[in-house]
Each structure stands twice: as C-alpha cells, then as structure tokens.
C-alpha cells in the first residue's frame, strides 16, 4: 500500500468537521474501506470522492448510512443503465439511413 496516497481519517474529520463515529459507522456498514497502519486509520485517496458524497448525503440530506447505501446502489445501477443506453444508441446508428 502506497502510504503517500493515504489520508489520515483524523485529518479528514477535522477538515470536514464531522464525527469520527460517522466514519466508523460507514466502515461497519461496508460503505468505506479504512486502512489501519500503526493503529491509525487512513482512507485511500481514490475513495475520497465517494467519502465526500457520503458526507453530503448524510449532513445535507439527513440520510442515514442505510439510506446512503441504497443511494450508492441505485446510482451504480443508473450508471450501468446509462452505459447500456449509450452502447445501444451507438449500435442503433448501424440501422439508421443517412
């Protein structure tokens, strides 16, 4: 694990002004992958965008962690469907007359 790409959870909690318990809950629900090095929890920067989204969903929209999980699953499905629509639209061009 490249330590340079890890951000201390403590730093993130201070920066976003959030409770550590929220991060713990996300971790327990399997929504966030936390890396522990020398007894300190870290987040890989690749997961930062998702983490920021979870914070917004929780604090802006009052969603609990179960709700966040549902939203992430539905968004994933939406992305897959969009991909499918894109592929089908490109394929449809085969049958369109110029």
């Amino acid at each position: 694990m490249n330590k340079e790409k890890l951000i201390q959870i403590e730093t993130l909690c201070v920066h976003y002004k959030i409770e550590f318990s929220f991060v713990e809950e996300l971790q327990h629900k399997g929504l966030l992958q936390v890396v522990v090095l020398e007894e300190r929890p870290y987040l890989h920067q690749d997961y930062l965008a998702d983490f920021e989204k979870m914070i917004r969903l929780h604090y802006d929209l009052n969603l609990n962690t179960e709700g966040i999980d549902i939203v992430f699953n539905l968004l994933k499905k939406e992305i897959e469907l969009r991909e499918e629509v894109k592929t089908l639209k490109n394929k449809l061009r085969l049958y369109e007359k110029e």
Binding site: Q45, A49, I55, Y59, L61
Partner: protein, 304 residues
C-alpha cells in the same frame, strides 16, 4: 434582472412557518441534489434555485427584508438604502465554498436578484462543514472525427489555464468518458487534486458504420460482376483493397474482411473486422439491343 419568487420556488405560502420552509427545502433538496442527479443540468439549476430560496427564507433578517422590499426592489428608495447598507456589511464575506466537489457553490451560483438584494455571501443556515479537501473535478468535452480515433491522438488541452498534454488511445467510442487523475482543481490543505473527465463526441466522417471495433459498409456491385464474378476495389480505413467476387453472388451477400475494422480501445494492434454487404445495382436505360439480349436470356432460363 427579474424578481424571484422564493415562496413559489419552495412551494410554500407567504405565511409559512420556519418549520414548513425547512421541510419544503429538505424535500426539494432530496429531489434535486446534484449527488442524486449526476450529469443533470436541469436538476443542478433547480437545486441552485431552492438553495437560494432557502438562504433567504430560512434567515429571519433576510426574509424580513425580502418580504418588505422584494416585489418593489426596482423602485423602492428604501430598498436602495437597505441594499447599500447590506453591501457594506457583507463586503468582507463575499466568497465561500459549500462542502465537496460535487456541489460547490459560490456567489456565481446566486441569481442577480439575490446578489443585488443581499450582496452575495452570508449563508443563512445549513451545514458549516469545511470546503472540499479533494480538489474539484473538471468536466470537458472533445469533438473528434472517426478518422482521428483510428490512431492514437496527441492533443494539448487547456484546462483552467493549464496546458495538459494528452494521448487519446485509438478506438475511443462515441460518448466515452476518460478520467485523467489529478488534473482537476487543486486540493485544499494538502488534499489530492481533483480529476479531469473528458467526454469524447466522435463524429463519423466516413462512409463506414461502426459498432465497437467492427465496421460496416454497403458496396454497390454491378449486375454483370455479380453474375459472372470478377474483381473489385473497395476502400477501407486503411487504404484500398482488391476483392474477388464469386460468380452468382446474390444481393445482400456479406463479406468479412478480417482485421480491416477499427482498433480495440487501448489495444491498437488488435483490429476488428470490416463487413461489406453487396448491393447489386441493376442496369437502367437499356438500349434495344440490351433488351433483346435480356429477352433471349429469359427464354433460355424459362426453357430449361
């Protein structure tokens, strides 16, 4: 600059309680929040509207001022005075960023009406968490011709004043989005940079049709070559190719030219196939001699 009816935006009456305003805002925010509506410009616009309405109506002072001067903001002398005072008070707090790269808000996100009345800034309520740690993600669109993406493309893009040298792999699909890590906005307080997302709009400037790595084309074949067989030359993206046409080739016959299609994305040496469909072209404006000969052929065929 038009008057903005914040009550209408939130769908509440003019005498709505604080709780009703809060509930209406939360309900609409859950519907139009950018995180729940990715790539939806209309939802983004609506979210900005309801945010602005909430900024005004959820703050006692702002709401009072809006109720008093809102409708007459164009003419009211008192409003002008109030506006000046407000500007002086809030000059020092003009810019702020709402949390996260997915929903960043600055003064630019407020209407002219809001800025004129409240001078920008001064969030009335809502979260007070810090701004995004990770830099903002940037989105860009790039239009390319199909022939451009047949081979890897070197491009220099200017994003937010910075030049980015980019190699676009061959085989990029229409509307494909690629992520360039760390080329978005700068991170804050040691946070990582945002990413740059580039969407490719690939315009087909060829006579071929594309489905992934395979290309398709209809080729006209004259009647005599179709019946007797012969040689034809067809265009591929790679140049001209000579083909043998088998005698008695039927209309709609498909021919597959292996490796004459489009490169596989990020595997440019692996090419798809080109599928040709023969469209037999019947001769027109026949001379009397040609008609006689066709009649003879017809007789021969019927007598067999």
């Amino acid at each position: 600059m038009d008057f903005v009816d914040y009550y209408k935006i939130l769908g509440v009456s003019k005498n709505a309680s604080e709780k009703e305003i809060k509930n209406a805002y939360r309900k609409l925010a859950r519907k139009y929040h950018p995180d729940l509506n990715p790539d939806n410009k209309e939802a983004e616009r609506k979210f900005k509207e309801i945010n602005e309405a909430h900024e005004v109506l959820a703050n006692k002072e702002n709401r009072k001022k809006y109720d008093k001067y809102g409708k007459d903001w164009k003419h009211g002398e008192e409003f002008e005075k109030a506006q000046q005072q407000q500007r002086q008070q809030q000059r020092s707090q003009r810019s702020y960023t709402h949390a996260g790269s997915g929903s960043s808000f600055t003064d630019d996100d407020f209407s002219d009406f809001f800025s004129s009345m409240f001078g920008g800034g001064g969030r009335a309520s809502g979260r007070s968490t810090g701004a995004g740690f990770k830099g903002q993600d940037f989105n860009a669109e790039l239009q390319l011709n199909l022939t451009d993406v047949y081979k890897p493309q070197q491009q220099i893009l200017t994003v937010n004043g910075k030049k980015i040298r980019l190699t676009i792999p061959a085989g990029v699909e229409n509307e494909q989005v690629i992520k360039i890590k760390g080329k978005g906005g700068e991170g804050l307080h040691g946070g990582p940079n945002g990413d740059l997302y580039i969407k490719f709009n690939v315009v087909n400037n060829t006579s071929f049709k594309r489905d992934g790595q395979n290309l398709y084309k209809e080729v006209e074949l004259d009647l005599y070559t179709a019946i007797l067989g012969g040689k034809i030359t067809v265009d591929t993206l790679d140049g001209k190719v000579k083909l043998n046409v088998a005698p008695e080739t039927e209309n709609g016959t498909k021919v597959r030219l292996k490796g004459k299609g489009f490169p596989v994305y990020k595997n440019q040496n692996n090419l798809g196939d080109l599928f040709l469909t023969y469209q037999i072209k019947l001769p027109t404006n026949l001379s009397e001699k040609e008609k006689d000969l066709f009649k003879k052929l017809q007789k021969i065929r019927n007598n067999e």
